[in-house]
């Protein structure tokens, strides 16, 4: 049995973007932690939100709902949302379920910040 651990934290990048870092295994058991961080994040047009998933090793269907809820909040509030550093397996999963059409992906936080400036 793999240990089901997940960390989800939020910090503010020096350029003003809100970075939600999620690392570990995102599944039915751990999703509430990430959900809490997403819910506690103030979405709005002034500060872009970057979900830093570079440490994410697994994401099941429940995990996907958290990403979608972040997307829906971003849509409602006019927030620019990026998903950063998704690994190859998860990129493939996001592609299969069609979420690649919802999110803008960037390899790193810096790439996302540069893309925001451009």
């Amino acid at each position: 049995m793999t240990d089901r651990t997940l960390t989800a934290t939020r910090h503010t990048h020096s350029q003003g973007a809100l970075v939600l870092a999620v690392a570990g295994e995102l599944d039915h058991h751990t999703a509430p932690e990430f959900t809490r961080v997403v819910q506690e994040t103030p979405f709005g047009p002034d500060a872009p939100v970057l979900i830093d998933a570079s440490g994410l090793t697994y994401c099941d269907s429940t995990g996907i709902t958290v990403f979608v809820s972040a997307y829906q909040r971003a849509q409602k509030t006019g927030t620019r949302l990026f998903v950063v550093g998704l690994n190859a397996d998860l990129t493939r999963v996001f592609g299969i379920v069609g979420l690649d059409q919802l999110f803008t992906f960037q390899p790193t936080v810096d790439d996302a910040i540069n893309a925001l400036r451009a």
Binding site: I64, T65, V93, V97
Partner: protein
Amino acid sequence: MTGVEDAFLHDVEAATAAATDERRRLAAVSRYDILDTPSDGTFDKIASLAARIFDAPMATVAIVDSDRVWFKAAHGLRDVAEIARDPDLSAPVIPHQGPYVVTDALDDPRTAGSSLVRGELGVRFYAAAPITTADGHRLGSVNVLDTRPRRPTEDQLAGLQELAALVMDQLELRLAAQHTVAAERERRADAERLARTLQRTLLPPALPTVPGLRAAAAYHTASVDEVGGDFYDLFPLDDGRWAFFLGDVCGKGAAAAALTSLTRYTLRAAAIYDPDPCTALANLDTVLKGEYQGDTPRFCTAVFGVLDAEPDGSFTVTLAGGGHPPTLAVRADGTVEPVSTAGGQLIGLLPDPHFVQTTTRLAPGDALLLYTDGLIEARTADGSMLGEEGLTRHLATRAARGAEDLLATVHGLFTDLGTGVSDDTALLALSVPPCSIPQSAQENR
């Protein structure tokens, strides 16, 4: 009736009543399920506290069984786990009301013959407070013993009674916790059984026979603890064509089973209303969103297809996919190619989902394999995901012929992957039997 007969009958009645009381008392002892359990810090502390209150060398928490007095805790009594019930110092507590005190056991006719008094321990002082259930049954007592005769104070006896009440509270708590755990375990087992049964009923018991087509299906269970929500079906449409679908709902257990049921019947009904594959998925999307609103969205991935039999024995397959991995076509010559519905999105979750439709032709000797993501998300020995590529490679090297053979090949893959498969997988294979086909049919593909 003479006075003697009256007295005799009275004795018989009293004896019968006592036997009934004792039966009920033993039933109460058994209910608390405490006899012969390992030592427990709480009861040990109660015994040592009793000894301290009396400044006595020995104290016990004793439960009276039918033929013995068993010590749940014994302070200062080495290697004594239980004693015979009769005669001894603990048994008298049973018919006695309130605290029971023997100030000098040697002089007291009730206890002078006891092994504890006469024997090595040489007990002279004995005080007991009964452990009494709410319905009045005496399970045993909290006892203090000393080798010197003594006269306890009212405070000491009150303290002893409080300790006995504490033992009773603890026994009640223990029982409540046991009931809760047992009920929870039972509830979970029931839910799992129900979900598993429900899940089985959600799959067709046998696939129908489609003229000119072979069909085979399988359900591979990854875990006995968590029931997945994979589903498939193959059924006739009103216009003589056939439709099929295969998919996977989010979540596990009973909730997933309920969602699977809704999904399967919605797709069947949608197909009768309008068999266009994209429309069927869009109808399902609407139904799921209507049924599950709020914080816990329920969604699924699915492939829906319609089979059109062609005069030359081949089938035209129109497929739509929402959030589902690509269907694989295994051609008569052994090549494996994806029939991709990439771009099709999850069903029931997104505000305005997009579904993707595609068409392929199944010629004699061709087969189609539909699967859920438990298969391609399985981990291979090196820890990497099998993926669509791994599955394609496996099928290409095995050169399976026909629907059953194709599933047997995939079954072999499951065996190889072993514990790398962490999710349930549903499989549906459709194949057109090979025949002495005209050369032109192959060239037309």
